[in-house]
């Protein structure tokens, strides 16, 4: 027990004596959260719109000005003919073109319907879909205003946006960034720490010491646990104070769940270090192998429910996915533990499994 205490103390000194590294480990998550929290948005504004008006009547002018005043569409570009659409897309100067057929208003009056072409640059399918939808709803609004007095509205939907009424993407992304950054930093730190000892040869010394494998592993995790915990606190503080993300549930619960999550991430790092021989390999796996899967499969940006079924199943092994569900539920929905015990259990199981596997791998080296 005494030697274990000494070992943990040594690990602490190791990390905190190297001021520069310690500064990086504390500073990096904060800096990244600040940067990404402000920069990453998926609200679409300033869609560059082109109008090809072959009719020039009061209806087309009204619709054009309605589109431009909606706040979504910014620049307006007049196209004399549909032929100009191609080059405008290719140069990236336009995202959407609206084409009014000749005799637009007259036909609307006479036949009760007319055609409107909405052409988007589909190379970004996401933007394309959204702006087509925006355009359609502006047109509906126009019709509603023009003709509503003459017609019964029928069923009127009253939408209630729960948890995030302003539909701010910050509320979505800040918890996601927390998960991503904590995951990467924690896994990175521990995965390197053990492989480094392997490379400089001090691992052999540890292995022949009286410490048991479990103690070595725990001793390695303990200081990083503290480091990661400080990271959790700073990241949460930034989320609340800088980005104004609410915490509608219990803060202690949120902190406890975050602790659990960093423990999972640290164990993953330890596990990576037991299966790799060099710092390089550990690094490549803990960043190269985690960065994209964590961004893509955690639900950070892309909703998991929309993915093909095999990927939805696969996403279950991404720890950040579970943490993200928990964080969003606590912060935005005010969920209590009764809603979250399953997700919590998954993280606990992952941690235990990773720890057990690492200790096992480690003991094998001893024999």
């Amino acid at each position: 027990m005494k030697s274990f205490r000494g070992f943990v103390l040594k690990e602490f000194l190791h990390i905190f004596r190297d001021r520069r590294t310690a500064a990086i480990l504390f500073g990096m998550p904060m800096l990244q959260l600040l940067l990404f929290g402000y920069a990453i948005r998926n609200e679409i504004s300033e869609v560059k719109l082109g109008i090809c008006d072959l009719s020039h009547d009061q209806a087309t002018r009204a619709i054009t000005s309605k589109l431009l005043s909606s706040g979504t569409f910014s620049a307006k570009r007049n196209l004399r003919s549909p032929e100009e659409i191609g080059p405008a897309f290719a140069s990236g100067e336009m995202n959407e073109a609206v084409v009014f057929e000749p005799g637009f208003a007259a036909r609307l009056q006479r036949d009760g319907f007319c055609d409107l072409q909405v052409i988007t640059d589909g190379s970004d399918p996401n933007v394309s879909r959204i702006i087509t939808g925006y355009t359609a709803s502006v047109i509906q609004d126009y019709l509603g205003e023009q003709y509503a007095p003459f017609s019964a509205p029928g069923v009127v939907p009253v939408p209630v946006m729960l948890f995030n009424p302003a539909l701010r993407s910050v509320y979505l992304f800040v918890p996601g960034l927390m998960a991503l950054i904590l995951m990467l930093v924690s896994a990175l730190m521990t995965s390197i720490s053990i492989t480094r000892e392997k490379e400089i040869g001090t691992m052999e010394v540890l292995l022949v010491s009286s410490l048991r494998p479990t103690e070595i592993i725990l001793g390695k995790v303990a200081p990083y646990m503290l480091l990661a915990f400080i990271n959790v606190l700073t990241v949460l503080a930034l989320a609340f104070m800088v980005f104004g993300v609410p915490c509608r549930g219990s803060l202690p619960l949120l902190i406890l769940e975050s602790l659990l999550f960093i423990l999972t991430a640290l164990s993953l790092g330890i596990f990576i270090s037991t299966i790799t021989a060099s710092q390089q390999a550990a690094m490549m796996i803990s960043l190269g192998g985690l960065l994209l899967p964590t961004i893509l499969l955690s639900g950070f940006i892309f909703p998991v429910a929309s993915m093909p079924l095999p990927l939805q199943v696969f996403s279950n092994i991404i720890p950040a996915k579970w943490y993200l569900i928990i964080v969003r539920a606590i912060m935005l929905k005010g969920a209590d533990f009764s809603y979250l015990w399953q997700e919590t259990l998954v993280l606990v199981l992952m941690t235990v499994l990773l720890m057990a596997a690492s200790i096992r791998k480690f003991s094998e080296r001893l024999q």
Binding site: T21, M28, Q32, F36, Y38, A39, N42, I44, S45, E46, I85, F89, G92, G112, F113, L116, T120, D121, G122, S123, P125, V127, S128, R129, T132, G133, A136, S137, I139, L143, Q146, Y147, S151, A152, P153, G154, V155, M161, S169, Y171, L172, L188, I192, S278, Q279, Q280, M283, M284, L287, G288, G289, L292, P293, I301, P303, S306, L311, R328, K333, Y339
Partner: protein, 377 residues
Amino acid sequence: MRRSITIILVILRKEFLQIFRNRGMLPIIFIMPFIQLLILSNAATFDVKNVPFHLQDFDRSSLSAKLAEQFTGSGYFRLTGESFGSTQAIGELVGRRADLVLVIPKDFERDLEVSGSAPVQLVINAEDGFSAGVIQGYTSQIIADFNREHRALFSAAGAGRVFPEIRIKSSAWYNPELEYSHYMVPGILVILVTMVGLFLSGMNVVREKEVGTIDQINVTPVRSTEFIAGKILPFWIIGLGELSLGLFIARFVFHVPMQGSYLLVYLVASIYLLVVLGMGLLISTVTETQQQAMFIAWFFMVIFTLLSGLFTSIESMPHWARNMTMFNPVRHFVDIMRRVMLKGSGLAEISRPLLILCAYAVAMLSLAVNRYRKVSA
């Protein structure tokens, strides 16, 4: 000149020997990226499908049943439960069993028939504001359809009148099916190539420093330019090789079209790789330990990836962030790849980002050569 080429080739040969001898790294360099490309390219989709929805029908009339049916029959929504208590509805949303609760009030049918209008409440889980917007879009479409079909039933006032309609014919150029993978594969490929290049070159020189072989190199008459060139070339070749395999997968697995020319893609990639590798070597020469080099490479990689416009569009970023992305080489290469592959852009259309990459390459390489000093001052 001939002597320089020989020396560069000698270094190149040695680097290749070392790379291929490192059994632990081989799968990480040559297999992991492609597994990721294959798996992850399908994950990136903003489609909202199969939204779980919860029904609270307080009217229980034939019209309310028809409205509910319209929702389930639309293909967008999947009914997960029904209830009649208001707190229960919130619970469904919190517990993730539903993202939409449709509340049809009492007297829904009667109001419709008498006054021609009746409200329904749509409680949407807006955690993800984007999906919430899409869900709302679906619901308005369904309700509009419902109104059109049942207009005759509503009120005497509305009956017989023609409600004018503007039929929207929408089409998306370059990607008419709106396939996400066409958009994502070129971008993810760029990230993977960048990651491998940046890390391999970033760890390289600093590793020789840690092992001590760098001193041995420094007492030889090898020139900085020769040394840096010999270090860059192997990773440059590997990078282009990985890109080729990735393009092959894009073409034959994901059926991403190639509207532009492969030649142009390779031209840009050759320059782009110089930026990435030059940057890696720069990191490697200014750091003392692999650990430091890794942290720095890590830091930039995360920033480059998230601010590349790969996942969220550059256009939705605030202005300062948008300006910042001009310094992000990944952003430019992702942009060029997408434009060339999907839109068939030629050299003229991509000249601006390409020039930025060239400038970057020159800057990085000269910095790397300059910072690698054989003699300490």
